[in-house]
Symmetry: C2
Subunit: 120 residues, 2 copies
C-alpha cells in the first residue's frame, strides 16, 4: 500500500483500471454479478435477488454483461423455453477480486458513523 507503487503506473494500466472499475461499478452490475455468484440463473431469480431493479434495466444490464463476456446466456428449448444466465470464469474472477469491498464497506461505514480512525 505504498504510494510509491502507484507513482509509476503507466497510462495503459490507468485506462484499464478505470474501464474495469466503471464496468463493475456501473449501477446494478455489481449486484447482478453477485446474484449470479449466489446461484441465480433465471431472469426472475436475478430480479428477486437484485433488490429494486426493474425488468427493463435488468434486461439491458444482462445484455451488456453478456457482450462484455462476464455472463453467458443460454437458451434451453424446453416448453416453454427457459433462459439461463451464468457467470463466465472471467465474471467469477472479477467478483472474487471485488469481495474484499464488503469488508471495506463495513469498516468505512463504522468509521463514518463513529469517527474511529483507521490505520493508513
Amino acid at each position: 500500500m505504498d504510494e510509491k507503487d502507484f507513482e509509476r503506473i503507466d497510462e495503459a494500466a490507468c485506462r484499464r483500471f478505470q474501464s474495469s472499475i466503471e464496468l463493475a461499478g456501473r449501477k446494478w452490475n455489481g449486484a447482478i454479478l453477485l446474484a449470479g455468484m449466489r446461484g441465480a440463473r433465471r431472469f426472475s431469480e436475478y430480479r428477486t435477488l437484485v433488490d429494486g431493479i426493474s425488468d427493463r434495466l435488468l434486461a439491458s444490464r444482462l445484455k451488456e454483461l453478456e457482450y462484455e463476456g462476464l455472463i453467458e446466456r443460454e437458451v434451453r428449448p424446453t416448453t416453454p423455453v427457459s433462459i439461463s444466465y451464468t457467470l463466465t470464469p472471467s465474471g467469477r474472477q472479477l467478483i472474487t477480486l471485488l469481495q474484499p469491498l464488503t469488508e471495506w464497506g463495513h469498516a468505512h461505514a463504522l468509521e463514518r458513523a463513529g469517527g474511529i480512525a483507521v490505520a493508513s
Copy 2:
C-alpha cells in the same frame, strides 16, 4: 473462490457490497482516487491526470468523495489561496483493494481479443 462462500451472504453484506462498488465505480471516481494515489494534490493536477474529465464533473466528484470521507479538502491561506485534495486512509485502503483490477482488466482484454480460456 468457491461459489458456496457466496451463497450465504446476508442482505446487509449485499447492500454494502453494492453501494461500495457503485461509489468506487461511478464514472470518474476510480480515476480520481487513482490520481490522488499517484501524487495529485491540486485541482489542476487531478484535471491533468484524469484524462477527459471536465472541470464541472471534477469539482462535483471531489465534493462527493469528500462527503464520503475518501478525500480531504484543505484550504491553505497563501496568496492566492491554494487548495489541496488528499486521500484519507479510507480512500487509500479502497484503491489498494481495487488495484488487482488492473491485472484482471489486462487478462480479460486478452481473453476477449484472443479467445484464450481462463482457469475458473
